[in-house]
């Protein structure tokens, strides 16, 4: 077993594009759930709409690249308004039901045969990311000895982490303001906020839209990085991974989702590498106990276990404050 190899795989993933996409999705969820108390179970829908907003406008409608980027921001905004108007006046559970359904509907529509001409069916869309790749200022990749990234990856990672940093900065600036105070108060008790003369519905809508747009940026980044969008990327699994990352890091904290996402992918890749080395030929775990194929999925079981233990012993996440956690299991 090569511990260095495990660490290398884990670090590569923890700093890689997946961590960026889920960090952005989780930053959005943090605004929804961590600060405002909105239960959005359809963040994957916002991410998908961001990605497709870019791809569809460039590939299907032949719009210029910059307009595609604009659409990647506008589309989640529109989705937030459509979902929010009927549901934000209702109790939090209804938003959860509507958002999870909406995200699934979107995924099926994007992948449907009937809409193949617009959304590209299950093969998705590609051929829109040229301007992004052309803008790459790096002439070569980077080799840090321990981990290395190719030229294209280096460019995407630069853009991605800058995007994450900007979003964190925005969230920090907003949440220290009176606006953020109103959001956190809505999380605690809507009626109290109403009784003090604040338009709760408008604030919830702003929060839903902002979190949705940041999730959409995650989709836009994924679309740029992969140079293709495929509907199967945006399943409910994406939402729940984002939630896992958020809870891991700490909801209601600016850096919580980022730390959570990095750690989440570090664990996923690290555990994956550990078990694939340990099981099968040459591994120390006999095949009677674990086969090769089992080794590739056992990490998800371990991760689920880790999140359960986290919820029991440290419900505030890694950097949360126990006195002001958004959820309390007990």
């Amino acid at each position: 077993m090569d511990i260095l190899d495990i660490l290398r795989a884990a670090l590569q993933q923890a700093l890689g594009p997946q961590a960026i996409v889920f960090a952005l999705a989780a930053i959005g969820l943090n605004i929804h759930f961590g600060y405002t108390g909105l239960l959005n179970f359809g963040q994957a829908g916002f991410v998908a709409v961001g990605a497709y907003g870019l791809a569809v406008s460039v590939v299907t409608f032949g719009a210029p690249f910059w307009l595609g980027i604009t659409m990647a921001i506008v589309a989640p905004l529109v989705l937030a308004v459509i979902l929010g108007v009927p549901t934000l006046r209702l109790r939090a559970d209804y938003l959860a039901i509507v958002t999870i359904a909406a995200a699934e509907v979107l995924r099926f529509v994007f992948g449907s045969v009937e809409m193949k001409d617009t959304f590209g069916g299950s093969n998705g869309l590609n051929g829109y990311a040229g301007p992004f790749q052309d803008a790459n200022p790096y002439s070569s990749g980077i080799d840090l000895g321990f981990i290395s990234f190719g030229r294209n990856d280096l460019w995407s990672l630069t853009v991605g982490w800058v995007l994450v940093a900007l979003c964190c900065l925005l969230v920090w600036a907003l949440m220290r303001s009176p606006w953020g105070r109103v959001l956190r108060s809505i999380r605690e008790d809507e009626d109290a906020v109403r009784s003090l003369g604040k338009n709760v519905f408008a604030y919830k809508m702003q929060a839903l839209a902002l979190g949705g747009v940041i999730g959409g940026l995650g989709g836009m980044f994924l679309a740029l990085k992969q140079a293709s969008v495929v509907p199967s990327d945006y399943s409910t699994l994406m939402t729940f991974y984002a939630f896992a990352a958020l809870l891991l890091g700490g909801a209601g904290r600016v850096m919580g989702p980022v730390i959570g996402s990095v750690l989440f992918w570090f664990l996923i890749a690290g555990l994956g590498s550990f078990f694939s080395q340990s099981a099968g030929k040459g591994g120390w775990i006999p095949t009677v106990i674990m086969t090769d194929t089992q080794a590739s999925v056992i990490r998800y079981i371990m991760l689920g276990l880790a999140i359960m233990l986290l919820m029991i012993f440290r419900p505030q996440g890694i950097i949360g404050d126990r006195r002001e956690i958004a959820i309390d299991g007990r």
Binding site: A173, S195, G197
Partner: protein
């Protein structure tokens, strides 16, 4: 309507000078739904039904500006429902009501608050995971930093935030909560939460303060200071309407008392005249309400329970 004034021995000549405030109540009729000299809230034909139950059925009521009005009545009389209706947290089936002549029909609760009518809740609603000072700051109105586009830029709202904080600190000191400033509101005791909620409501600078059972669960010493606060609200020219079961408090501070039973207003008047009213004694107070002996508490309670049971029976018969 001045006819039944003869029994009001406390009529003083100098009090007639003003129409506003408690002085303006001198000479007001004690019939349910009587006219006031300077009403700030007027409600007409308000009904609210839950299924087959008529929770509120108020024909006409006026609340005097600048005075402390108590709303009393047995459990289930519809006091809190009436509060909810007035503040927009619930909408009545029929009726109209107004604040300073402006109709509040169909107006959202947050707009009612902005118009100057702010309420507290029977079950306190403090924002548990915010600090006491943040709870207070939330109450301030017209904050520039509460607008999305201005929020990220501290130089736009920093100065106003300082002013808000100063006002909040003054109020906290008045309500003896300044030592709890940085604590999470969730760590406060029940009585302290009542205080915080009242102080927070005052951050709005309300014209009318509506308190739903401000004394429930508050210890005697704190009660005294709360009484003082409520009186000082009146001295500042604000109108206070409160629901309360503590008759000592009602007697002590209210300028006017409105009695509700089974959704209707059954009596009005000064605390003394209302408490002498046989209907009120029967429906709510019980025969021993004036005897200040603790061993009689049980009897009072029994009488209350009995009255309530009778009320239920009457209601059942009505619905048949």
């Amino acid at each position: 309507m001045d006819a039944d004034m003869t029994d009001q021995t406390s009529t003083e000549t100098n009090a007639v000078a003003s129409k506003t405030g408690p002085a303006g109540l001198v000479g007001a009729s004690t019939e349910p739904g009587s006219k006031k000299s300077d009403p700030i809230i007027v409600a007409d034909k308000i009904t609210r039904t839950f299924g087959g139950l008529t929770a509120v059925d108020v024909d006409h009521v006026e609340i005097q500006r600048g005075a402390i009005t108590a709303l009393i009545g047995p459990n289930g009389a519809g006091k809190t429902t009436f509060f909810n209706l007035l503040t927009g947290f619930d909408q009545p089936n029929t009726g109209s009501w107004s604040l300073e002549g402006k109709s509040l029909k169909g107006v959202a609760p947050y707009k009612v608050a902005r118009l100057g009518m702010v309420r507290t809740f029977q079950l306190t609603k403090v924002l548990a995971k915010l600090t006491v000072i943040e709870n207070m700051r939330l109450g301030a109105t017209g904050q520039k930093g509460e607008r999305f586009w201005a929020a990220p830029f501290k130089f736009l709202w920093g100065k106003q935030e300082d002013e808000v904080t100063k006002k909040a600190d003054d109020l906290l000191a008045r309500f003896l909560l300044d030592k709890k400033r940085e604590d999470f509101a969730g760590s406060l005791s029940g009585g302290q939460r009542k205080l915080l909620e009242m102080a927070r409501a005052l951050m709005v600078d309300p014209e009318v303060v509506m308190l739903d059972e401000p004394m429930a669960g508050v210890n005697p010493a704190l009660k005294q200071s709360l009484l003082g606060h409520v009186k000082s609200l009146r001295d500042e020219g604000r109108t206070v309407l409160f629901v309360e079961h503590d008759m000592d408090m009602v007697r002590d501070i209210s300028d006017w008392v409105i009695v509700m039973a089974q959704g209707k207003i059954v009596a009005e008047g000064t605390a003394d005249s209302v408490m002498a009213d046989q209907r009120v004694i029967d429906a709510y107070l019980g025969a021993h309400h004036d005897t200040d002996l603790s061993e009689l508490d049980e009897e009072v309670l029994e009488a209350e329970v009995e009255a309530e049971l009778e009320g239920d029976i009457v209601q059942e018969e009505d619905s048949k």
